[in-house]
């Protein structure tokens, strides 16, 4: 059985690992390949700060909340293991700030120690009158993606640094050897493989600074403006990420001077000590935004041949937050494909 994963961001690599871990024992002939034109540290995932935090509301999409929780619990379980440092995984506490009271988020019982901010804490953040404190996780993809790549390589998964132009190409190229399943983890560019008007880039820009005295994440919210359009400060293991840009429909991956100004001024207003921080890097990326994650099977046909495609893309600004839950759901879909193939092989007349 030949499986091709397209995309080597956090979604592609974790889905590959999840499927290989679960099914390699059951399918000894399992051969897995990862195709990607961008690999770490040049993927969208690499640019993200890596904070585990879903959007404020799941808009009734309980499935996504379950996947967020599965991811959090999975990562929490790895915290005490020796691999945590190599994975770029660690606990972090911090603040979510609002200018008015808001309902508690869908994830309040997933994170640790969720509570409202006290008046004294709010004194730290003039202009904000309400907020939350909780302990969550950081998963830095600059470490996590190499770690996943290492695990996959150890398992014999092959990597191909190439751009896949179509599903046919992947399954057609190697049809003689039979690519049976394609896992589509192409993120923001999934539309190039199959048009999807619901998928749009949610452009973000971040400034990475040296500010090792910052020990908390601080996410401000402007409810009217929308998610990620208000300053945020997220301390990593090496750098602190400053952000607060979300531009729907903007495909430009170049850093923008006005956005830089917006981020810098608003973050320094939020945390005056940042004025003294040294800027190390600036980066822009495209969040693969979609009204909901596309996680489903599809049979893609061309000529006599067909391949099973599992789509797993459209994770917006919460890819890291939801990745493992989605990987497991994709693995379940893979399992159902296996079952059908087994059934098919049982009912096929023997030639």
């Amino acid at each position: 059985m030949r499986v091709a994963i397209i995309g080597a961001g956090v979604i592609g690599l974790s889905t590959a690992l999840c499927i290989h871990e679960q099914y390699h024992g059951l399918v000894p002939s399992l051969e897995m390949e990862v195709y990607a034109d961008r690999q770490t540290p040049h993927t969208t995932s690499d640019g993200a700060a890596g904070l585990w935090q879903p959007y404020l509301s799941d808009h009734g999409n309980l499935q996504e909340t379950i996947w967020h929780k599965e991811t959090f619990d999975h990562l929490l379980g790895h915290l005490g293991s020796p691999a945590a440092k190599e994975m770029g995984l660690f606990l972090i506490s911090g603040y979510n700030l609002f200018t008015q009271p808001v309902p508690d988020p869908s994830w309040k019982n997933i994170v640790l120690g969720f509570r409202n901010l006290t008046p004294k804490e709010l004194e730290l953040f003039p202009g904000y009158s309400y907020g939350w404190f909780n302990t969550a996780l950081m998963l830095e993809c600059r470490s996590y993606l190499p770690w996943l790549t290492e695990r996959l390589t150890q398992r014999g998964v092959k990597f191909f640094h190439k751009k896949v132009e179509s599903f046919q190409e992947v399954s057609g190229d190697v049809f003689a050897r039979g690519v049976d399943v394609v896992i589509n983890c192409t993120g923001v560019r999934a539309g190039e493989l199959q048009p999807d008007p619901e998928l749009q880039p949610g452009r973000g820009q971040v400034i990475k600074v040296l500010a090792p005295w910052v020990k908390h994440f601080i996410i401000t919210h402007d409810i009217e403006a929308g998610i990620y359009k208000s300053p945020y400060v997220i301390p990593g293991s090496e750098f602190t990420v400053l952000g607060g840009i979300y531009q729907h429909g903007n495909w430009n991956e170049e850093n923008n001077a006005q956005d830089h100004k917006t981020i810098w001024e608003s973050c320094c207003r939020l945390l005056p000590a940042l004025q003294k921080a040294k800027i190390v890097e600036e980066w822009s990326g495209l969040r693969p935004a979609r009204p909901s994650v596309r996680l489903e099977r599809e049979t893609v046909r061309h000529g006599r041949f067909q391949a099973q495609v599992i789509h797993n893309y459209g994770h917006g600004g919460f890819g890291i937050t939801i990745h493992w839950g989605c990987a497991m759901a994709a693995a379940r879909l893979f399992g159902s494909i296996l079952q059908e193939k087994q059934l098919a092989s049982l009912t096929q007349p023997r030639l």
Binding site: S81, P82, G88, L91, S93, G113, P272, A277
Partner: protein
């Protein structure tokens, strides 16, 4: 007295903050800090500088609470300003965990730190050997940055700093009008205070920048305090030990204890070992005294013995010491004007 001359003996956190308070409350005073050691060689430089108070058995609780509150308020304002990074002051959140539920579940300082509350079941799961815990956010003063920042502010106010080993406070009587004794553990020899004793603390300072939360065992022996550039791992509390040399067996023991609280510390790099002698006392000695020899008097203000809680109360005791210095000066001025009659 035109410009009262005040000497502050000691350049740790107590000496420097006291000198600063005196300079601010008595602008006409000429203040000089005298010490045989300055940062990075003071006891304060070894300390993590966490604002978690130590309880002094013989100092009234309301006073300890006030000192802590004044210190917290003062540092809170700096942490929120553009100077925070230079001063090495930052907020840090974390957990104090107990193997056995403490008698006092609400310490006297619980409403001064931020967001104090008992830990949830989920949070405690991270510490399987511990049954009870408290979560809160407090401040940390990293040294040397904090001491260097105090020195810079002192210079800006015109306070002089001199390296000098003072063997006896009386030796200063001809040069200074008031002497402030902030000699810390040095007071044992300097003024012969037998009630002052060292509690030896060994710590490791390691590079582990992914550790963003503090963890402290309620027994006070094991703690993990993330600072700006390093994480302080501790520690020991060895009463009456004057040994300033790091002990390798102790280093191993501290490291193991901290790793059992935070396994990721196994990946820590660049481990440095330090030793400090906490200047411990049943109560902080914060009082006036008048030394006299042959009719000559020398007013002294003592401000030492903060032990494990120096950073936690330093501004509060500094303000009180400055107030006492003010009283000394007023008394001197009163007596000198009486002498003129």
């Amino acid at each position: 007295m035109v410009a009262p001359k005040v000497a502050v003996v000691g350049a740790g956190v107590i000496g420097l903050s006291t000198a600063l308070c005196i300079a601010e409350t008595c602008p006409s005073c000429s203040v000089t800090v005298l010490s045989d050691q300055f940062s990075p060689n003071t006891t304060s430089d070894v300390a993590a500088g966490m604002l978690i108070p130590h309880t002094y058995p013989d100092t009234p609780i309301h006073m300890q609470k006030q000192w802590f509150k004044e210190t917290f308020t003062y540092l809170f304002a700096i942490s929120n300003s553009a100077e925070a990074s230079e001063a090495g002051i930052h907020l840090v959140s974390g957990w104090q965990v107990f193997k056995n539920t403490p008698k006092e579940e609400l310490p006297f300082w619980s409403n001064i730190v931020l967001g104090f509350r008992p830990m949830s079941e989920e949070e405690l799961r991270k510490f399987p050997q511990h049954r009870f815990g408290q979560a809160f956010t407090t401040l940390k003063c990293d040294c040397p940055p904090y001491l260097l920042w105090l020195e810079k502010r002192l210079e800006a106010t015109g306070v002089q700093m001199r390296t000098r080993k003072v063997a006896d406070l009386w030796e200063l009587h001809s040069e200074y009008d008031v002497v402030v004794n902030c000699a810390g553990i040095g007071a044992h020899q300097l003024v012969g205070d037998m009630e002052l004793f060292p509690i030896r603390g060994q710590v490791l300072k390691v590079h582990a920048p992914w550790v963003k939360n503090f963890i402290r065992d309620g027994d006070g022996l094991t703690y993990i305090y993330p600072g700006v550039h390093s994480v302080t791992l501790g520690g020991t509390r060895e009463k009456d030990s004057w040994n300033l040399s790091p002990d390798p067996g102790t280093t191993k023991d501290i490291f193991e204890r901290c790793c059992s609280l935070e396994p990721s510390l196994r990946g820590a790099q660049d481990i440095k070992v330090k030793v400090g002698l906490r200047p411990s006392r049943q109560s902080v000695r914060l009082q006036r005294e008048v030394l006299s020899q042959g009719g000559v008097k020398l007013p002294v203000v003592h401000n030492y013995g903060q032990g494990a809680g120096g950073f936690s109360v330093h501004m509060g005791t500094a303000k009180e010491a400055a107030r006492l210095v003010g009283e000394c000066i007023a008394a001197l001025q009163g007596s000198s004007s009486r002498a003129k009659l």
